[in-house]
Amino acid sequence: MSRDRLTAAAMIAPSVILVGIFVYGFIAWSARVSMSDWQGLIPSYNFVGLENFTQLILHDRRFFIGIRNTGVFSLVFLGGAIVLGLLLAIMLDRKLPAEGFFRSVFLFPMAVSFIVTGVAWRWLMNPALGSRMSGLNLLFDRLGLDFLVNQWHMNPPPWGMAFIGIPALWQMTGFAMALFLAGLRSIPEDLREAARVDGASEFQLYRRVIIPLLRPAVLSVVIILGHISLKIFDLIIAMTGRQVALDVPAIYMWTTTFDANNFNRGAAIGLLLLVSVAILVVPYLWYSRRQEAEL
């Protein structure tokens, strides 16, 4: 028995040690850097308390813009993914022909990187107007939908940021759809029949019975896509390079650390990002672990 214990310990030890160092050790080290005066190429760990944090939160215009942009983006991204994902899932759940094909089409962008998405969409959402028009604007123009022609992410802030949500939705709506579809499939058919026998219309059936039962799936979508939108980084880089108007904290951290050598500020932004993700994820993790323990 004790030999088995030793083997078990030996099997998980590498992972526990590696994650211990690379996740928890590094977070602690980041915290130390975030409370230091390290600016420049030579590390310096003189303790300055929470100064870097108060500076960011109270006085840093760029950080404020980044938070606002994250908010605008999350709203479009989460709202769009829930509405569109639910709509697609409900239609796919109704046993329409070619269901498998449609499901594959809506999910395939998940297999592609944000960088690829960004490169493709930077040309689809080319903001040039007039004779240099191209991409979706050109398509709208050709189809007589001129009123849709616009400057996309080059619209004045903060609305430009809302358009970054479109390629993100292209990439991730399928994920929301898959989660909702799994939720719909787990609702027993009897329940729907019972509601129909009671005279509920199809609309009432969804409104009053099915959608309320999908609440756990909605929660999963909000947590998973929500934490992705807090971390959004590659997509914006690939679409627009680095423009302050479309800045988010994840990009700010990168540029201030590795271009401007403000290591202490970079670490502080990283930790604030971590806290925001933890607020979203930890209750969910804790709750679902506990729920499983009860089973």
Partner: protein, 296 residues
């Protein structure tokens, strides 16, 4: 005189029957409408691929932003050849990076999943939750120590260092998938193997591993896709000669000298391996996707 009124009144069941038929017709109309909407949405989802494909297949002379939506006059591979020439070393780097990193994180995840599902100990649930949290953290929060550490151990700049990093940060998701998979393996199998005198590792080797093919497929495909598509670690931890394809493609896209048509063809080339895996083995990919969302 007025006696027949009752008889003339239509049977009470009739309106209901009519409404049932109306309902059936309405349902059929809704079905057709549903398929139409789905087809429209599918077309929208395929639009970017369509543009990338037709752009890539045009000749250099034919390419222009103003004729972006026009079909090519013939099939040319100029764009793909140019993009491939620019990205070839990076595609090779991506393969060298992705395969060992996916395998490494799968093996560790399988160890963890086995112990954490079949050999629970006091505090094993806490260990599992702490491991899981690692897959949600924004990597910006560990980036500075990571760079310092990789420099310290002399693994900064090259592909081996990036492999190590992807193995480590892959542990949470691979552990989760294997743990859930092994939890569904009947404990009797383990017990009978123990009665036969096999120890913990032999049981893993001879009972669990042969049963694990589907879980390995899910994990390997998931990790392959994720690592192939990853950008932040790659750009921070590798020097230009070790860049994987995502970093090189981003550079190509930011460059003023590379034409947009070559950029788009490059994007399609960079996406091709994971897309191919998705088309051939999509079932496993989707299982990985769902595993990441449904905790525990």
């Amino acid at each position: 005189m007025t006696a027949p009124t009752v008889a003339q009144r239509p049977p009470a069941i009739a309106p209901r029957r009519v409404s049932l038929r109306a309902r059936r017709i309405r349902r059929r109309v809704l079905r057709i409408l549903g398929v139409a909407v789905l087809a429209f949405m599918a077309a929208l989802f395929l639009l970017p691929v369509y543009v990338m494909l037709i752009t890539g297949l045009k000749s250099f002379e034919e390419v222009s932003l103003a004729r972006m939506w026009d079909l090519p006059s013939g099939i040319y591979f100029d764009n793909f050849v140019a993009a491939f020439r620019a990205l070839r070393p990076n595609l090779v780097n991506s393969v060298i990076l992705t395969v060992p990193a996916a395998i490494g994180s799968a093996v560790l995840g399988s160890f963890n999943g086995y112990v954490l599902s079949k050999w629970r100990f006091r505090g094993s649930e806490t260990v599992f939750t702490l491991l899981l949290f690692g897959m949600f953290i924004p990597y910006q929060s560990i980036l500075i120590p990571l760079v310092q550490f990789m420099q310290q151990i002399n693994l900064y700049g090259g592909i081996p260092g990036l492999i190590l990093v992807h193995i480590v940060y892959g542990i949470p998701i691979t552990t989760l998938i294997f743990r859930n998979y092994y939890a569904s393996v009947p404990t009797e199998l383990i017990e009978s193997s123990r009665i036969d005198g096999a120890d913990l590792f032999r049981t893993y080797r001879h009972i669990m591993v042969p049963l694990s093919a589907p879980a390995f497929a899910v994990v390997l495909i998931w990790q392959f896709t994720n690592i192939w598509n990853e950008f932040l670690f790659a750009i921070v931890l590798t020097r230009p000669e070790s860049w994987p394809v995502t970093v090189a493609l981003n550079n190509l896209a930011g460059s003023q000298i590379v034409e947009w048509n070559v950029q788009m063809s490059g994007a399609l080339l960079a996406a091709a391996p994971t897309l191919l895996v998705y088309i051939l083995l999509g079932r496993f990919f989707v299982q990985g996707l769902m595993a990441g969302a449904v905790k525990g």
